[in-house]
């Protein structure tokens, strides 16, 4: 019953080429889980197909073999049941990581996420906490169609009691997942299907975390700020490189990394410098993350803006199957580029 309290001083990420390795996003997540399970016996993983099957997206490959079926626990297809079980275990001081196959399936466990996990701390007057991690990918683009292509990041980020992070790089995938596991509150870690295979340099230091609540300037620039998270950051960086080469414009990309808490300071500083902002997200923009960002920017940077804040997101339709229709609905690089050109009054 007595959880071991480990005192760990989080170090803020700094480039440390020694002791780093190139790996993809899913390997970085796996590294984070392995390190945290080695560090703290209260940490365990459960979800559909996380063990014998090696994970639906192979994020947990090999972990059951390494840690056994108690710490890498296969569950029935029963999201409300096992996500709620994670809430209960967390309330007793454990550090469960619940993997939900995709964000779309969190919807059948929504009662446990919103009405339960998010309420524990406040509703019981701070008498008990819920240090639960929920890992799940959002994203679209593989013709998975209407029920399997959604990004509801804003729903969760708009819920007091939850913390929400959405890493866009392997380094942050490792750093933010570790921070989430060590955090004393319920944290939703939004992963992303297309990024799982993206590669990057990852510091192997087991004590290096990415602090929750801290955005990153992923690319410096002076003409316009693109505010993005998750896969939209990857797209924005590609567009910024293309426009630098083709049109000589200098785009700054702010990668939010955390959606709640949200680092308005970093993005407001960026917009105050570039005087223009474009918010990009994978989800539907109406009432979405980009809506929130735009509201914060107009309040914090009203006098600095040279043009209205613009937004690019998923077209507001249930995602269709046909490749051409799906592509037309997605917040593609072409649509991001067009929005930037419009805002900067560049010829297309």
């Amino acid at each position: 019953m007595n959880p071991v309290e480990l005192e760990v001083e989080p170090k803020v990420a700094a480039p440390a080429p020694a002791g780093s390795e190139t790996m993809n996003y899913r390997e970085a997540l796996r590294l984070a889980m392995r390190q945290e399970m080695e560090r703290d016996e209260r940490v365990f993983l459960m979800g559909e197909e996380v063990g014998l099957f090696d994970g639906s997206y192979k994020v947990s490959a090999g972990l059951m073999e390494e840690f056994g079926p108690d710490r890498v626990r296969d569950t029935p297809i029963s999201e409300e049941g096992f996500l709620g079980a994670g809430v209960g275990a967390a309330m007793l001081g454990e550090r469960p990581i619940v993997e939900v196959m995709t964000l779309n399936f969190v919807l059948v466990a929504m009662d446990q996420v919103i009405n339960h996990a998010a309420k524990v701390g406040a509703m019981f007057g701070g008498e008990v906490r819920c240090p639960l991690v929920i890992r799940t990918p959002n994203g679209a683009g593989n013709q998975l169609t209407a029920q399997h292509s959604q990004s509801f990041d804003g729903w969760f980020a708009g819920t007091p009691g939850l913390k929400v992070v959405a890493p866009a790089s392997p380094a942050d995938a490792k750093g933010l997942l570790k921070a989430a596991i060590r955090d004393d509150d319920p944290v939703l870690v939004i992963e992303n299907l297309p990024i799982y295979k993206e590669k990057g340099e990852v510091d192997l230091d087991p004590d290096l975390i990415t602090p929750i609540g801290l955005a990153a300037v992923a690319r410096e620039g002076s003409d316009l700020t693109v505010v993005a998270h998750s896969f939209a950051t990857v797209r924005a960086l590609r567009v910024a490189e293309k426009l630098a080469a083709e049109a000589g414009v200098s785009i700054e990309v702010v990668d939010l990394r955390s959606l709640r808490p949200l680092d308005v300071e970093t993005l407001a500083a960026s917009v105050s410098k570039t005087n223009r902002a474009l918010c990009v997200e994978e989800g539907w923009p109406s009432y979405g993350v980009s809506a929130e960002i735009a509201a914060r920017i107009q309040y914090a940077c009203f006098d600095d803006l040279d043009s209205p804040v613009e937004r690019v997101g998923m077209a507001e339709v249930p995602l269709p199957y046909a490749k051409e229709l799906e592509l037309a609905a997605m917040p593609t690089e072409a649509r991001i580029e067009a929005a930037i050109r419009r805002q900067l009054e560049l010829t297309p």
Binding site: G84, V264, A268
Partner: protein, 358 residues
């Protein structure tokens, strides 16, 4: 110590223990009566679900718990909190929304708790507490702890998906948990017969290869016997079970419900003839306890409740500048500090700059 020895009794109960349980039952009855009065005087807000009539099922199951077992309940929870040892002052203050309520005025009637007594709430969504209690049982197993979990729910909760998912997980993982169905015959205003295709609710346990039993929830001894045995099996054999306690609530679904749209006054009067307090008093009488002792227990309960009301009346409201206290864990304020620019008016003062994460 005198032991009650009834030839047909399923379970031998120490008469002193019995008297103790009787006191707790009276405490609950008088507490609920006071809560209703205070609600009608507008000192208690929100929903207020009373459990008068259910005292034997409540006290009998809670008294079967060992000190380090865990208890999780739905929202009709005043009696469970009191039976588990939460002070009437802390419960009444919570109903009043006062600072020193057991949830510091953040929970109210439906969200009582007391972690020190192993009572983990007081949950307001029908069936929502079941997966959580199941996860607690999983955690006990993971730690090799010998404890068990008692998870209370109402008859209305058995038609929720969470019931099915939780029973399935508890059985497939062999978890030490007893699901206690307090069947008071009505889920709000819908009778069990109208709501459940299998109205013998305990039988549903069989679908999960789990033991299911039904007990007369107004028979204190029978309730203690069944719940002690099933909890023992849960602890020792890691075997989950369903225990259905048949009882009746005298008042409406909540204080706002007169409780007569779906049942008759006659039915209520008939049911009151099976009153668990009267039955327990009869049992004590048969063991030679003087009526004067029972009356003294009743007076004692009334006094305790009066003191609780007095305490709640004089307890201050929670501090406004602590509005956001408890929402996030200590240390979170630093994470939220950078969210301040552009935050909605008022939130700056009350949330981000105030009590958040302290």
């Amino acid at each position: 110590m005198a032991v009650i020895d009834r030839t047909d009794a399923p379970f031998d109960l120490d008469v002193d223990d019995l008297f103790g349980h009787y006191r707790t039952m009276f405490l609950i009855r008088r507490f609920e009566e006071a809560a209703e009065r205070q609600y009608k005087a507008a000192r208690i807000g929100g929903y207020c679900h009373l459990s008068s009539g259910q005292e034997a099922a409540t006290v009998g199951t809670v008294k079967a718990l060992e000190a380090d077992d865990l208890l999780v309940t739905g929202y009709r929870c005043h009696g469970f909190a009191l039976a588990r040892g939460v002070s009437p002052e802390a419960v009444m203050a919570e109903l009043f929304g006062r600072r020193d309520g057991c949830a510091h005025g953040r929970g109210g009637s439906m969200h009582l708790l007391d972690v020190e007594h192993g009572y983990y709430g007081g949950w307001g969504i029908v069936g929502g507490q079941l997966p959580i209690a199941t996860g607690m049982a999983l955690s006990l197993v993971r730690r090799g702890s010998p404890q068990a979990v008692l998870c209370e729910l109402g008859d209305g909760a058995v038609n929720m998906g969470a019931w099915h998912e939780s029973l399935n997980l508890a059985s497939v993982w062999n978890l030490p948990i007893v699901f206690l169905v307090i069947n008071n015959l009505y889920g709000m205003g819908t009778s069990v017969e109208r709501a459940s295709a299998e109205p013998d609710l305990f039988k549903r346990a069989g679908s999960y290869r789990m033991k299911g039993e039904r007990v007369d929830g107004n028979d204190l001894e029978a309730v203690i016997e069944a719940s002690s045995r099933l909890l023992e099996e849960a602890r020792n054999e890691r075997r989950p079970a369903v225990l259905e306690a048949l009882t009746y609530r005298y008042r409406g679904h909540s204080v706002a419900d007169a409780g007569l749209a779906y049942r008759t006054k006659d039915e209520i009067e008939e049911r009151k003839k099976l009153d668990p307090l009267a039955a327990t008093r009869e049992l004590l009488r048969s063991e030679g306890a003087a009526d004067a002792e029972s009356e003294a227990a009743d007076a004692e309960a009334a006094d305790a409740v009066a003191r609780a009301v007095e305490f709640a009346e004089s307890n201050p409201a929670p501090e406004l500048d602590r509005l956001a206290a408890g929402v996030y864990a200590p240390g979170s304020q630093e994470q939220f500090a950078r969210m301040l620019p552009g935050s909605p008016f008022g939130e700056r003062e009350l949330v981000y700059a105030g009590g958040l994460g302290e």
